[in-house]
Subunit: 441 residues, 2 copies
Amino acid sequence: MHTSTALLTDHYELTMVDAALQAGTAHRRSVFELFARRLSGARRYGVVAGTGRLLEALAHFRFAEAEIDFLREQRVVSDATLDWLADFRFSGDIWGYPEGEVFFPGSPLITVESSFAEGVLLETLALSILNSDSAVATAASRMSHAASGKPLAEMGSRRTGERSAVAAARAAYIAGFSATSNLEAGRSYGIPTMGTAAHSFTLLHDSERQAFEAQVAALGTDTTLLVDTYDIEQGVRTAVEVAGTGLGAVRIDSGDLPVVVARVRRLLDELGATRTRITVTNDLDEHTVAVLAAAPVDSFGVGTSVVVGSGSPTMGMVYKLVAHEDATGAWVSVAKKSADKASVGGRKSVRRAYDARGIATTELIFLGDGPGGEPEATGPAGATERDVLEPLVIDGAVKSGHTGAEGIAAARDRHARRVSELPHVAMSLTRGDPAIPTEYR
Amino acid sequence: MHTSTALLTDHYELTMVDAALQAGTAHRRSVFELFARRLSGARRYGVVAGTGRLLEALAHFRFAEAEIDFLREQRVVSDATLDWLADFRFSGDIWGYPEGEVFFPGSPLITVESSFAEGVLLETLALSILNSDSAVATAASRMSHAASGKPLAEMGSRRTGERSAVAAARAAYIAGFSATSNLEAGRSYGIPTMGTAAHSFTLLHDSERQAFEAQVAALGTDTTLLVDTYDIEQGVRTAVEVAGTGLGAVRIDSGDLPVVVARVRRLLDELGATRTRITVTNDLDEHTVAVLAAAPVDSFGVGTSVVVGSGSPTMGMVYKLVAHEDATGAWVSVAKKSADKASVGGRKSVRRAYDARGIATTELIFLGDGPGGEPEATGPAGATERDVLEPLVIDGAVKSGHTGAEGIAAARDRHARRVSELPHVAMSLTRGDPAIPTEYR
């Protein structure tokens, strides 16, 4: 696998650079915005994820010899453009919603200010990362709330691409999950990993008892035994016989869970294993988690639904040129005019408005001031406003605090805080309007 | 990014190896099967993709110092198991459906015969790759048929994880697409790449005419001009004025396509650009492609829908232990008993049955003979049967022809051939039963 991220890019980004360099327009200062026209799946709010990964990928966005050779052989661009690409280092500014923040239709999640050529080159990579990571985080956030404080583990690696699995584990953790099954996510991002055994382990052995004995011998009594390979009730009895009443947990991966869980809890208690926890993992999503939150379940393992965004595997974000300098150096706001894909031109800054109780009321998008501008605050008594955009890259240098384990920890805290500020309707699992309106000023 | 694929693995695969090594059961010869219980999205057939990628990933499935250090620090397994992992090289056999082949519920797409420990380690990686790549290929195959021979380009990189995008381009190409926008897919797999310009390129310039002039100057008149940034009719006129009647193509990315396309074709013809092609790219899926196949569209660009599997982003494949040697060395067939997740134990071989006209009639799964066995053929006069499984890895050595560009070319040919052998109902875009039944013998 190549380390450079520069070819994780659509062919047309390079032909545009080529043509603009030849036309003398490539160096016009430009502003690109990454945003979602609507919230996929009619969610009530979106959760930003991937920002830290994008900043990390930016450091590897280099056209080294191997990349240049490929572009030359395929005649993707002219030789002059190859020279320009070989020297390319992103030198502009990026402002954005920090990772873990919530967002709404039109929110400018990433604002890139640079030459046209530098900004357009980042389009595909930025969208790939933000669209997929935010789809996972948005679904994971709903599940986190539905679980009512009970821990959730992400276990969906097998249901998404092998590298997307690592990103999904990271996004779910930011949105409130407490662990993942994915070891590479543990290694790359420091996310706690967990897991004990699958049905195949029980089936390998001559009896369920022999399998449990082998597992307890290796992993201790504070392990999780999978009790539903054969008969669940017998599985629970055998588990407690083998591990004793100090058994850590039992896992249930099939059946009508609310009924089964209640029975297993009663049985564990009867057997004296009153502190043995119950974890469930059977094709859960936010709806089944919500149903089970009231049952005697101690933790959830969520697989497929979280890594595929629970019905919305991508966020539909776009990356649009919203302003640029013209031939005279004057700024021009631009936007495509087609009715079904209209967008709002011009640089923007964002404040979130809160009522006197600290509940978010409106996403205020100010036109014309550009990122970091200071729009005038207005509102009823006690109301406040908060700047949302943060500098992520200035003059090509990545600001600290957004990447690595530090960035993930900050994003996880931020997510919890921002979700807690949303009005109650945000927690509805039904399809509907965004929890707060977006207002352009 | 780490080169080793060994940690793209669920934590529990390693704890199972750990416990089984300690119990003395890890070395029992075992057979694991990767299959789908049903076809996601009630598709009529599935398309196998990812096999070549899995074989390539297998070569990098190594626990080197960096991986061992992480597992030691996190105390995932015991020191003795770390030693075993450090020496791990897959030494077993893998049989499977070759890439591009079609499949049905229960089809054993991958059969791994090895020690339990070696086979269980591959579970997560094999499922990640096959589930996601096959979901894309299955959707892409429907689109290829719907396009009635008109070329399709995959352009969805921005709507899936940045590495999944490369795999998706590969899977779509196997399933009949002719090109991709993804440059890394061009570099890594030799897939033709294409693309010219986005709306931002037009918006950057002082006028649409100036943008078209810049593009034609750089890319020649045989380029594709995007004509819908402002007014489509004016865009077409300007395009032909700038490039002449030798203009390669115009691209339309918005609007009510059947109507717009017909108008643009008439206008191009009126302007004398009778050989200028029309390509469309507006949120297409197999249904809209089918509608447009009769319109004067020359080629399609498909984005989101193909990379997210058109409503079925993962295939729901599982990887199950189906047989193993017991303590005495005798083979035992095994399967989980739970009603909702039952599977068929035992080693299997597969033949596809055909009628006298060469149309597939049944997927015959023979129990007990194991991969490569020679089941007895039976059937009406003129009917034939064909072995489906092929050896992919023997004694740890990957068989030639399945990986790299060679593997992709073979898979693409195979896909076209196998789809052409399916009964007509397979081409239905409605939800329904598999095109042919699966029969166990």
